[in-house]
Amino acid sequence: MPAYEVGLFNPPAPLARVSLRNRLSGRIVHDVPMLIDSGADVTLLSRASVDGLDIATDPNIRYELMAFDGTTSTAQAAELDLIFQKRIFRGRFLLTHQEVGFLGRDVINHLSLLLDGPGLLWQETQRLEKEE
């Protein structure tokens, strides 16, 4: 069962380890740390992780992001496969210069995740039944 990360975040935070793959060449990097962040609209990948895949990005395509305090920044995007929990998430991902990426709702809304805060563990779980 994956543990929370206590070294990089205080309080500890649920950290996922994913693989990233260049769809065309098949080149892959493993063990990429990603903060599970339900507050993030979309996933952001650490640029350092993606650089190892030799994926071309179009410098003219940029997306504007807004932080919780209203400050804005822009990010480039790349098309690739993110492999996590025995699934391949194929599509466009934003890139960040930060050391750790964010697993946003474009990915985590496809999964049922249980965050055990007191136990500092997380795991994928069965889907919950909707209460009538």
């Binding site: 650490s46 807004m66 919780f68 391949i88």
Partner: protein, 71 residues
């Protein structure tokens, strides 16, 4: 104290010197960051897309790994 200055850049959270510069292992160094460069990397936690209509650009095709044949 005699000081030499080399240009480098940050890659994957580590400082890498440009060119063929090689320093002795565990050499003590001082990192000077131009203020303009430091401002270029804002820390964005829980980022939101400023134009929500662009969220559709990030829709994912989800493939079960067992069905990954031929990829």
């Amino acid at each position: 104290m005699k000081v030499s200055t080399y240009e480098g850049f940050v890659e994957g959270g580590q400082v890498r010197l440009a060119g063929d510069v090689r320093l002795p292992e565990r050499a003590k160094v001082y990192v000077v960051v131009p203020e303009e460069e430091a401002r270029l990397v804002p820390y964005v936690a829980s980022p939101r897309i400023r134009h929500p209509e662009q969220a559709a650009d990030f829709d994912k095709r989800v493939i079960e790994e067992d069905n990954d044949a031929g990829l």
